[in-house]
Symmetry: C2
Subunit: 345 residues, 2 copies
């Protein structure tokens, strides 16, 4: 019920000026020749009434807010939602609060959000960056603000980051499909020039080269309207009926892919084997369960927040950057096992 107590209230109660109270609370009593007796009276009252200084005004003075800004691509994507949650938890344990936003992979929106965070005096920036914000990130770093990236990085910008070994992950998954006897293995993914997506394509292509197989690469433009993903995906699978296995580039396109496969009445894995990047409930509960490349989400979150806290603790002292690459886990399930026809031969 209590209205928040202000400096003015304290000043009025003791019948002194609010400037005096302010000097005392900012540790400038001695400098301003304020008597020890008055300092003691003010501090006693502050404690009694539970006065808390306005932290925005405080952060304007000290430059510290104990808030970290987190920019993900799309909070409605389970990968980002889960990692955001873990980062928020870890940070909260350490006395930091996280405020987050979706960039939508839009560089203009991201720039706008960086400005907002900067104006709100966040202490550090954790981001899965879109392309074309290199200069904005460099500006943050030059201003001494810690930046940690995850999921992807910006080539040409020297920051801390935590990513997974995307190239080996898709190489390994493609090899697994080839070893199970599949020979027309497609890779269906969102078209992107981001580091993690290019690496995933490379891994797929290299595995096919090593297995002397022909690539079937289908890149689909991302769209918030799922129907506009389902449509080209359906057309591709209808046109390339000899494809016997598909590797999906992300959880989102994998989920769309399963919808199309179901709609077309194709059997998994007999008509088409399936592996997807990212592992989540949809894949675990599908019949048959879908093989998936699981990112180590907890370790990602832990490393991101450790790097950030190290930067925040040392600030200017620590100018070296750390680049961490974590391995993924290929969870092999029924959807990518040798199909019955081959097995029977």
């Amino acid at each position: 019920m209590s209205k928040k107590v202000s400096i003015v209230d304290i000043a009025n109660t003791l019948n002194i000026s609010k400037t005096t109270v302010s000097f005392i609370l900012n540790g400038r009593a001695q400098e301003k020749r304020i008597s020890e007796e008055l300092v003691a009276r003010v501090l006693k009252l502050v404690k009694e009434v539970g006065y808390k200084p306005n932290s925005l005004a405080k952060s304007l003075r000290t430059g510290k807010s104990n808030i970290i800004g987190l920019m993900v691509e799309d909070i409605s994507n389970p990968f980002f939602a889960n990692i955001a949650r873990l980062i928020e938890d870890r940070a909260y344990e350490k006395g930091y609060r996280i405020i987050y936003c979706s960039t939508d992979n839009n560089s203009e929106k991201t720039r706008d959000l960086i400005t907002m965070f900067r104006d709100r005096h966040v202490d550090g920036y954790i981001m899965a960056p879109p392309r074309e914000i290199e200069e904005d990130v460099k500006e943050l770093i030059n201003a001494g603000l810690p930046v940690v990236m995850f999921d992807r990085y910006l080539p040409g910008v020297d920051t801390d980051y935590v990513v997974v070994d995307n190239e080996f992950s898709t190489y390994n998954a493609t090899k697994h499909l080839a070893e199970q006897g599949y020979s027309k293995i497609a890779f269906i993914t969102f078209s992107s020039e981001q580091s993690q997506m290019l690496d995933r394509i490379n891994g797929y292509k290299n595995a096919l080269k090593d297995s002397k197989l022909k690539p079937f690469l289908k890149e689909i433009e991302f769209n918030r309207n799922e129907a506009l993903i389902i449509e080209p995906l359906t057309a591709f699978l209808k046109k390339n009926q000899d494809i016997d296995a598909v590797l999906f580039g992300t959880d989102h396109i994998g989920t769309c892919g399963l919808k199309v496969i179901k709609q077309l009445g194709m059997n998994v894995p007999d008509d088409v084997a399936v592996v997807s990047f990212d592992d989540y409930d949809v894949f675990k509960l599908y019949s048959p369960p879908v093989s998936a490349i699981a990112q180590p989400i907890e370790a990602l979150a832990d490393n991101v927040i450790s790097l950030m806290l190290k930067k925040l603790d040392n600030n200017a002292a620590n100018n070296t950057t750390q680049k961490i690459t974590l391995s993924t886990n290929l969870n092999i399930r029924e959807s990518s096992l040798q199909h019955s026809k081959t097995a029977a031969e």
Copy 2:
């Protein structure tokens, strides 16, 4: 590449004091008797160098930040992740940015987040509130800060809110199961004293009463560790083997339920029919597809943001509150259709 231009840079360039620049930029030139010629020179330079005033300092003066704070229960939950995304989109279109946090249904954390948002001068608060923050919300309202709740509301606090008709939704779903010939219908949900969860239990109980059936209510304590949800759920289903249908109270417990049902080797719907609150990809892609109570997520987001913008536009002028209840849609799929044995009779 350009370093951000400050008021000091402008003052130095023109060889005038930074206070003079500040007076000019704040429209106090006339009051401070600053010559029109100097005002023109400052404004010209400001335009040339692209100076942008620090918006935090500005919001300290004007009290407007164009930022709305959004508090969800858990961002890793698909319902909250999707609605947060839609609210963020709608707000962005209207020139507002959203910063969000998870409350974890923890009143202490929520209080801490409210303080943070308040110190950061957010213009309004959108929240799916935990219990026991009634006084904190009243304080916001008394301070003239708009608050819009969704998903649930706090009895005894007069705010705008947007919810769904929880009681009718579970009444309807339970009736559907009874009409399909199921007679031992369980309701498995998280134990909670929140308005929406109490309403869901009431709807279930009333439908059973009207159908003259006995209730099997199982409330499980929420835990971040899924194993601690799976365990009591498994024990309940093992102990009550005569149950022939289950209604799950949320998407999360529904997903856990499907995992248990799969583990126990039970067939859906022959061994147990399934309906869940909330509709999402896991339920659509399950075999057989799972019947679900779909919340109108887009309409929820639209109404929340409309109410907020209306409050922000009118501010003090508009003291009436609006309480909006939206209907859900029961998407009937194979998981709750009359089972084959009954159908064959």
